[in-house]
């Protein structure tokens, strides 16, 4: 049933990059995605990593996956990717 749910791109915002030296954002993002989706390969799920100036990622998630990510420690917000316009 999880697979049949419609997926959309959500942005997972995780605040500042932790200053501890052993933190690797991409590994953390992938482990979150693997834990949430239960899939060992998250190809096709991960849209973007934010890892140079702040922490987070964008991924294709179902609504229930979105809810689970939002509950995780270290996650500030999860919100749908929308289109903005040139002004």
């Amino acid at each position: 049933t999880e697979d049949s749910q419609e997926k959309q791109v959500y942005i997972v915002y995780m605040g500042s990059l932790p200053s501890r030296v052993d933190y690797t954002p991409m590994s953390h993002h992938m482990s979150i995605l693997q834990e949430i989706t239960g899939e060992s390969s998250i190809e096709g799920r991960l849209v973007r990593n934010y890892k140079r100036s702040f922490n987070g990622f964008a991924a294709r998630l179902t609504e229930s996956e979105r809810e689970r990510v939002a509950e995780m420690d270290g996650v500030v917000s999860v919100f749908p990717n929308k289109k903005l316009q040139l002004q």
Binding site: G15, R48, K51, F54, N81, K83
Partner: protein
């Protein structure tokens, strides 16, 4: 741009005091629809290698080459950084384009086009294409721009309304830019003149409304009876003054439409045989899409935005309602009505600056005690570089290197250019110091209109003044800690704020962390219910960035619909050294606020040379 910098007093060449070495070391990050690397506005003639601090790349895709002026390019649209819209080329050149002489749009607006800081470098981050700008792409652009080492970011992108900070990609990206010492300048939005439409509302963003300059464009319509109507458009088509028969849409209705729909020139509503070879007259802008398909040679339409001239794919002029009604009367009272549409003329706008009808208005719907927009700048009929691949208007087959655009997108890079200009004199200044310098030195805007469209909710602190901003005397400083305290006051939890800042945060219950007490260069209070009598206070601290020994006296002047009593304690601030800080409290009392319009006053700290001016706005509703 060919006139707006002169309008603001930032003259060309030696007439303006500049710091060319630092200007050349300043990098402006432009998050937009890409850029046209071959444009003369971005030629690197006379430029040395990029500043050593630059950590970015040129990753613009095929057939895209950077140079010592355009030092960086990244793409988040999978189409390369080349600008096929024209928008990103326009905004980048407005902020930091080279001076290029004898530039015009088919002869219209001729002059030397230039950006605010022509010696500065540009890094282009393409996050938008014809379908818009994905929030995920925008965040990537911020993630890279901050790490690449840009000094300022300009972003002329937004939605139709504001989002809460934690779900707003621009608020998030700009927060981290601020935390890294980078000021972001953003457009206010184009959803005006309705209230509560401003979309960039965080206090760590410098939000810009759009106003006219003293140069305007008009397109005259000369009727067969000799009467001339003055319309708006950017019409480069020269019909040599010849008059052609005119036909009102409702007189050319096809058999499948009511006359009312034909009057609006709805699609499928016009009979081509009755329009062919004539000037079509439409009671809406819908005629712009159908005029050519039914054989019209030109178009006169009733304009929804009669204060702004747009480019159209055929000879056209947009009339305000009163003049349009006059035209219809002429048509209906004349057996063979005719008219000529003339080529666009430049006029001297005596009433400028006026806020564009499209420019989004406050109040701020997220942080209700922060005035937004912050400032206004030229954003109406701006001639700047364009992409030859871009479409000038829907269905337009012409291709140009310079074009005329209007929007808060156009005003935003003007303020980014000013911010860069200020930063050339004070390279170590924080984002908030630059923002304060720009806001407290703004020209008062003459709000002659009525309603919310002509209050501080339209223009913020006033119109940007580049020269005055480079010598503000005093500034209101803010750092990341202040913004975190502000977010505490916005009811974000300590736990969330610790993650956002990667610092220990303890939000206190103290009233002093009220958002109203953020050390912002404007002072705003929303009263939740209409009060017959009210008292609000604002705590502020000023930093001396002028002469070491100086004494400033406070003065309060009335704003619009001012029924505010303002008391400032202490009323005199004496500084003995540079960077010294002095605090004061503003107490505002009053009664019977207007339920729809804000009341305002201005606090001015003056030492006789510097006038440090802040709007005080109280509103309800």
């Amino acid at each position: 741009t060919t006139s707006s910098w002169d309008f603001m007093g930032l003259k060309e060449g030696k007439k303006t005091n500049r710091n060319p070495t630092v200007e050349s070391d300043t990098i402006i990050g432009v998050i937009d629809s890409g850029i046209t690397p071959e444009s003369q506005s971005f030629s690197d003639k006379g430029f040395g290698p990029p500043p050593e601090k630059w950590k970015g790349v040129c990753s613009g895709g095929e057939n895209f080459t950077c140079n010592n002026k355009l030092i960086g390019a990244r793409d988040y649209t999978n189409s390369g950084t080349r600008d096929t819209e024209g928008h990103g080329t326009h905004t980048a050149s407005t902020a930091a384009g080279n001076a290029v002489a004898d530039t015009s749009f088919f002869g219209i607006g001729n002059g030397t086009v230039r950006g605010g800081v022509p010696a500065s470098r540009i890094a282009a981050y393409k996050a938008c294409n014809a379908t818009g700008c994905g929030m995920e792409a925008l965040l990537s652009a911020f993630d890279d721009a901050i790490a690449d080492g840009v000094d300022l970011i300009t972003i002329s992108i937004g939605g139709e309304s504001a989002h809460s900070f934690e779900t707003d990609s621009i608020a998030i990206g700009t927060f981290h830019a601020m935390a890294n010492g980078i000021l972001t300048v953003s457009s206010a939005g184009n959803s005006g003149p309705e209230d509560s439409t401003v979309c960039a509302v965080a206090p760590w963003i410098l939000t810009v409304a759009a106003t006219t300059t003293n140069r305007g464009f008009v397109t005259k319509v000369v009727l067969g009876n000799g009467k001339t109507l003055v319309g708006k458009s950017v019409n480069a088509f020269d019909m040599k003054g010849q008059k052609y028969p005119i036909v009102y849409g409702k007189s050319a209705a096809s058999s499948v439409c009511e006359a009312e729909n034909a009057a609006l020139c709805e699609p499928e509503c016009l009979e081509a045989s009755l329009v062919k070879g004539k000037i079509l007259v439409c009671a809406s802008t819908k005629g712009l899409k159908v005029a050519e398909s039914v054989g019209a040679i030109a178009l006169i339409f009733k304009s929804l935005k009669p204060d702004v001239a747009f480019i159209h794919p055929l000879p056209a002029s947009g009339l305000p309602e009163k003049d349009f009604d006059s035209l219809v009367s002429y048509i209906e009272s004349t057996e063979s009505p005719s008219a000529a549409i003339l080529k666009t003329e430049e006029i001297f706008n005596r009433t400028s600056p006026l806020v564009g009808s499209f420019s989004s208005r406050g109040p701020n719907t997220i942080a209700v005690d922060i005035l937004k927009p912050d400032i206004t700048a030229p954003g109406v009929e701006i001639l700047a570089a364009f992409s030859p691949d871009g479409e000038l208007s829907q269905g337009d087959t012409r291709h140009v290197k310079y074009s005329v655009l209007s929007g808060t997108s156009m005003s935003c890079p003007h303020v980014a250019g000013v911010a860069a200009y200020v930063k050339t004199f004070y390279p170590k200044w924080s984002p908030s110091m630059i923002q304060s310098a720009i806001m407290t030195t703004a020209w008062p805007v003459n709000a002659t209109g009525t309603g919310i469209a002509s209050t501080e909710f339209a223009f913020g602190a006033g119109h940007v003044d580049p020269i005055a901003a480079s010598n503000p005397g005093l500034v209101y400083e803010l750092d990341k800690t202040d913004h975190i305290a502000f977010l505490c006051g916005m009811n974000y939890t300590s736990k969330i704020l610790r993650i956002i800042s990667d610092e220990t945060v303890t939000c206190s219950e103290d009233k002093e962390i009220s958002p109203r007490n953020l050390n912002y260069p404007s002072m705003t209070a929303r009263l939740s219910v209409p009060h017959s009598n009210f008292t609000v206070t604002f705590n502020r601290t000023l930093t001396n960035v002028g002469p070491s020994s100086s004494t400033y006296k406070s003065k309060v002047v009335a704003g619009h619909r001012s029924n505010l009593n303002v008391n400032v304690t202490p009323s005199v601030l004496s500084f003995k050294e540079v960077n010294e800080k002095q605090s004061f409290r503003v107490t505002v009392t009053g009664s019977d606020l207007d339920s729809k319009l804000p009341s305002s006053a201005y606090l001015i700290w003056s030492d006789g040379t510097h006038n440090v001016r802040s709007p005080i706005v109280v509103y309800t509703g």
